[in-house]
């Protein structure tokens, strides 16, 4: 609890110096994007980097609920799936362009979140997690059973995945498009965080009843956060499509949400860019380890448990704790 309250204090303290810091961060991020995009030569790594950005978007969406609202959104994969299915259906069944499908997916996701959230966000804790899981279960059964989503086989063989003049089948273009979208979403989220809405959300997460007693409309703010998170998840689903080249009912599976939860937990729920760092670790590290898929699940699940037991706020907590311990030691030596 102490770490969260000090965070809130820091938030209040950011004035002009904070916006300057933000500018520097944005320039740094843009530099990183250019460096990675121009520096990487192999198509495999460029594609993976692009996918990582798409996955990071999904992790950010999950963290709006986990770190922002304080609920475990096991069903967030449903919005990811909507985002993956919408362009796939638009391209394969109606011959419409990819961008249009992406927009349709985001609109459907936002509308679905408004409806679902209106019903489920009055619930909290395990009740919300279970119902959210259930919603994704219902969505999975639905795409399994209706015809135009391709049933169990899913949809594949898309004619053209492009955003305007940018052809996403070129790995470098794909990376630049996804990474710039990721950066824009991060800037948007940073703005929201320091807005009135962001503060209201933080107050709800820390103490729902206190926030309510101070006149915050708890249900409405939670619903706003949920409706904000859904189109971001859908966008992530769309942007992962050029990498996966196929969309199946599995894309709505709760396991997707668990992957994103892990990425969020590794990076830290309290940091805005924590989920991005977590996603990079989550997608890149296994490439070097040459793990069997099940070994990967086993290792990462045990890692989640370990993180939750020793550093529930994210791995950076450990680094902070180690730093504090070092400082203590050096001071006592003096």
């Amino acid at each position: 609890m102490t770490s969260t309250s000090s965070q809130a204090l820091k938030l209040q303290g950011t004035g002009r110096a904070g916006s300057l810091g933000k500018g520097v961060l944005i320039v740094l991020a843009a530099g990183l994007i250019l460096f990675v995009g121009l520096g990487l030569q192999s198509t495999f790594w460029l594609n993976l980097a692009a996918y990582t950005c798409g996955f990071a978007l999904f992790a950010l969406s999950v963290n709006i609920m986990l770190g922002g609202v304080g609920e475990v959104p096991l069903g967030q994969s449903m919005f990811f799936g909507i985002g993956a299915y919408a362009p796939a259906v638009m391209i394969n069944n109606f011959g419409l362009p990819f961008e249009f499908g992406v927009l349709v997916g985001m609109v459907i996701a936002a509308a679905a979140a408004t409806l679902i959230g209106g019903v489920t966000l009055r619930l909290t804790g395990a009740y919300f997690a279970i119902v959210s899981w259930g919603m994704s279960g219902v969505a999975m059964v639905t795409v399994h059973n209706i015809e135009f989503t391709g049933g169990a086989l899913g949809l594949f063989g898309f004619s053209r995945l492009a955003v305007g003049p940018f052809d996403l089948s070129h790995p470098r273009t794909y990376f630049f498009v996804t990474s710039i979208i990721l950066l824009l979403v991060l800037i948007l989220l940073a703005h929201i965080r320091s807005s009135r809405f962001g503060h209201a959300l933080e107050s709800i997460r820390q103490s729902r009843h206190l926030a309510q007693s101070l006149g915050v409309n708890v249900f409405r703010e939670r619903l706003k956060a949920f409706v904000l998170s859904a189109p971001i998840a859908a966008l992530a689903g769309s942007l992962c499509l050029p990498f996966t080249q196929i969309v199946t009912p599995e894309s709505m599976s709760v396991l997707r949400s668990v992957d994103a939860l892990l990425a969020v937990l590794i990076g830290g729920t309290g940091l805005l860019y924590g989920p991005v760092i977590g996603s990079i670790i989550f997608t890149v590290v296994p490439q070097f380890l040459n793990f069997d898929a099940n070994v990967k699940v086993l290792v990462f699940s045990l890692l989640i448990i370990l993180i939750m037991m020793v550093a529930p706020g994210g791995l950076h907590q450990l680094i902070k704790a180690a730093g504090a311990a070092l400082r203590c030691m050096s001071e006592s030596r003096r």
Partner: protein, 291 residues
């Protein structure tokens, strides 16, 4: 009319099986205040335990009690290493993620050790069907229902008439009060967790001859168990039993008269409706998880 009665019978038998998983889940929730998302993994562990004992040459009926002991042992180890240290009195946020991750880890470990494919479990009842007043019943399903009813009745009796059972009820009603009355609360919590997962394991063993043992076999069942438990009210044992019958009957009727492929969505729809209009469940005590 025959179809109608047959559907009712199927539903009751189905419900008796669900009740075992659901009661385990609700006992754990009642005393530990965590929703055990790893419940399905213990369900699968039960099936694999009986399978391994069978491979050693034991008869199915002899293997079942030993397998229950094996699952209980694993449950106890998990309780003292993870659940006890990480979960108690820490809000639901952490417990949801930890138990979910635990489930993933157990399933992945099972795949690595036993392989991903379904493995048949033999039972003396085999695939035989009994005919009763002109209605057909699978012998294994009757065995499941009978075992489940006997075990649950014994459990209910134990809760009501023994000191330990009363202590479990006391802890689930008021952990602090129980502690002040001299009840060993950590011990009772361990006991509840072990009993709960052992019940899940037993259900897995009973169902394995019908659906074979496979690593993710617990998923579908634990989802049904969630719907049952929420329908009955989290933490309420009689609610879980009633909920199991309601879900069993409604699933059977939906399968017979509407559609098989949409049945798995039905439970969730029921849960959402119940949470909307009856948030404390059919027999739940208070509504604490709404605002």
């Amino acid at each position: 009319m025959d179809l109608f009665v047959q559907t009712i019978i199927n539903g009751l038998i189905l419900g008796a099986g669900y009740a075992l998983v659901a009661v385990g889940l609700t006992v754990i929730f009642g005393t530990l205040h965590i929703v055990n998302f790893a419940h399905g993994a213990f369900f699968a562990l039960g099936a694999y335990a009986v399978l391994m004992l069978q491979n050693l040459g034991l008869n199915y009926l002899v293997a079942v009690p030993f397998a229950v002991l094996a699952v209980a042992t694993v449950g106890y180890l998990v309780e003292i290493t993870i659940v006890r240290r990480a979960l108690y009195d820490r809000g639901e946020y952490g417990s949801i993620i930890i138990t979910f991750a635990l489930a993933q880890a157990i399933v992945a470990a099972t795949i690595l050790i036993m392989g991903p494919d379904p493995l048949p479990v033999r039972s003396p009842f085999g695939q035989t069907a009994i005919s009763l007043f002109g209605f057909f019943l699978s012998a294994q399903r009757v065995f499941i229902a009978a075992t489940s009813v006997v075990v649950l009745a014994a459990f209910a009796w134990w809760l009501k008439y023994t000191v330990r059972g009363q202590q479990i009820l006391a802890v689930s009603q008021n952990p602090k009060g129980a502690l002040y009355s001299g009840i060993n609360v950590p011990l009772i919590r361990s006991l509840s967790f072990v009993l709960g997962v052992a019940a899940a394991g037993l259900a897995g063993m009973l169902l394995a001859p019908l659906i074979s043992a496979f690593p993710t076999m617990g998923d579908a069942n634990v989802i049904v168990a969630f719907t049952v438990v929420i329908l009955g009210g989290l933490g309420s044992i009689s609610g879980a039993m009633l909920g199991a019958l309601v879900i069993g009957l409604s699933n059977a009727f939906f399968e017979t008269y509407v559609s098989v492929s949409w049945t798995s969505a039905l439970g969730w729809v029921l849960v959402i409706l119940v949470l909307l209009f009856w948030p404390q469940g059919l027999m739940g005590r208070t509504q604490i998880n709404r605002h």
